[in-house]
């Protein structure tokens, strides 16, 4: 009888370890998608690195110029697009002037998508923001870190015209902007290379301009050394960073709503790891005994 029981237990653990991965995929799909249908208000503390980003923008006076670099593509949109929208809301709410650019070809388009969304807000609509006066999109230029370096001398060396082909000399917002000396803060949204690291190495270290960043969760840990040395004012790391920033802004939006889904998904993955280890150790114990 004991032999039969032992065989049944062995079969169960072995079956568990060799489970079809499509069942795992199904669990993850349900864990991610179902919470999206529930409206939840999550309360989470704002971490110091995110608070520093908020403070860096909040300290700027009305009319200050902010350069926002969009260095990501649609693959990173779920993490970075909510940050982009929050950046724009914060800047426009505080009457800052926004100069948009991109080191990735898709960057300026991502900016247009974020602007399109932000301009639907009633308080932003009421400001009647004008292209060329309150914000401008310089577009994409190939060249990676060379673009960053040349902008430190003269923006026109990298961007002779904006994304619509209008020479910078004809754009009111850009008339008083020659290089980083005329920029009060750079905000970089980055998913890889070129990205925040290049902005730190070529803009902050050489031209001593202030920089804050929003990064994917995979890239954010690489930025922590720069925060400790003061090269980076702060960083929004992944969807959690974006959610904390929305809470700091007192305007919960997409990132906060996505966090519930992410929380459940993380819980499910942890559960799978625990089950996998229990099965592994049970089998190992049986084999040694």
């Amino acid at each position: 009888m004991n032999e039969t029981t032992n065989q049944e237990k062995k079969t169960f653990w072995e079956k568990l370890l060799s489970i079809d991965r499509r069942i795992i995929f199904l669990f993850i799909a349900v864990a991610i998608s179902v919470p999206l249908f529930f409206k939840t208000s999550l309360d989470m503390p704002v971490s110091p690195v995110v608070q520093e980003v908020y403070n860096a923008i909040e300290k700027l006076e009305a009319g200050s110029k902010v350069l926002v670099s969009f260095d990501y593509d649609p693959g990173s949109m779920p993490e970075l697009q909510p940050m982009a929208e929050s950046f724009f809301r914060h800047c426009f709410r505080n009457n800052l002037k926004v100069i948009i650019m991109g080191l990735w070809p898709q960057g300026p388009l991502q900016a247009n998508i974020a602007l399109d969304q932000v301009f639907k807000d009633e308080d932003i609509k009421a400001k009647n923001l004008q292209y060329g006066i309150d914000y401008v999109n310089l577009g994409f230029t190939a060249g990676n870190e060379v673009v960053i370096d040349r902008m430190g001398h003269d923006f026109r060396e990298s961007y002779p015209a904006d994304s619509r082909g209008t020479p910078l000399s004809e754009i009111p917002l850009m008339r008083g902007v020659r290089n980083y000396d005329n920029i009060d803060l750079i905000l970089n949204l980055s998913a890889g290379y070129p990205g925040t690291m290049e902005w730190v190495q070529y803009a902050v270290d050489v031209f001593h301009v202030k920089l804050a960043a929003g990064n994917t969760a995979v890239q954010a840990p690489s930025m922590y050394p720069y925060i400790q040395t003061g090269q980076l004012a702060g960083v929004l790391g992944g969807m959690k960073g974006g959610a904390e920033y929305e809470i700091a802004l007192k305007r919960p939006a997409k990132a906060v709503s996505y966090m519930f889904s992410q929380a459940i998904a993380h819980g499910v993955i942890c559960l799978f790891i625990i089950i996998g280890n229990i099965a592994f150790f049970s089998l190992r114990k049986k084999k040694t005994s």
Partner: protein, 215 residues
């Protein structure tokens, strides 16, 4: 000469770019080389397009396995290029409301995001199969992963709400990010920087010739 000319050019440009950082008058040369770099970087897209068409065109012509996918690639490229250049308002082709913007939002964005999203499923499956506490190091890695995975989402707060403030999962995750993780990152960054310096010197001095044809 086929070997010597690229090496000489690399050495001249590389040494000039380094020295110009310390001798400002050399910035004239540095700017000239950077202008050449801009032109080459922008021209690279034409090389990419040519390669795309040649590789996929060859596949279609020879009816190789998967030639239909090659046809889809070339068709997609042509459709988006023609719409972007001729039917989307000229230089304002990226503005909301244009056909190019419509294709980007309704075709490129969902497809690109979906490809990246597939990673979530494979990460979950790989974690289940490979994340085992086989030894001390693996156990420490596993514990750190648990703390970070749970501490970086609200579920960590829910689970550890009964603990005093400062000792919860979120605080543990922040500690791991601020101290051990940052220490490790700093070490990796210094190592990479030393490696980059070493590789750059080898390329500038002509010791590294992997990029040269026929070497």
């Amino acid at each position: 000469m086929r070997r010597e000319v690229p090496l000489i050019l690399t050495a001249i440009v590389g040494i000039t770019m380094i020295i110009a950082h310390f001798i400002p008058p050399l910035n004239i040369l540095k700017n000239l080389f950077e202008d050449w770099f801009f032109i080459i970087a922008a021209f690279a897209i034409y090389l990419g397009i040519l390669n795309l068409i040649l590789v996929n065109g060859d596949k279609i012509y020879k009816k190789q396995k998967g030639w239909l996918f090659g046809a889809v690639v070339i068709l997609g490229f042509l459709v988006i290029t023609i719409i972007g250049i001729f039917f989307s308002g000229g230089k304002s082709f990226q503005d909301p409301g244009t056909p190019f913007y419509y294709i980007y939002m309704n075709l490129y964005y969902p497809l690109s995001a979906t490809m990246f999203a597939l990673l979530a499923f494979f990460v979950a499956s790989a974690s289940y199969r490979a994340f085992r506490a086989r030894n001390v190091e693996a156990t420490m890695l596993l514990l750190a992963a648990f703390i970070l995975m749970l501490g970086r989402v609200p579920i960590g707060e829910w689970i550890s709400a009964w603990l005093p403030e400062g000792y919860r999962l979120g605080d543990a995750a922040d500690w791991i990010m601020d101290f051990p993780m940052t220490a490790g990152q700093k070490a990796i960054m210094i190592g990479i920087a030393l490696g980059v310096v070493s590789s750059a010197l080898r390329v500038i001095l002509g010791l590294e010739r992997a990029y040269s044809a026929g070497e």
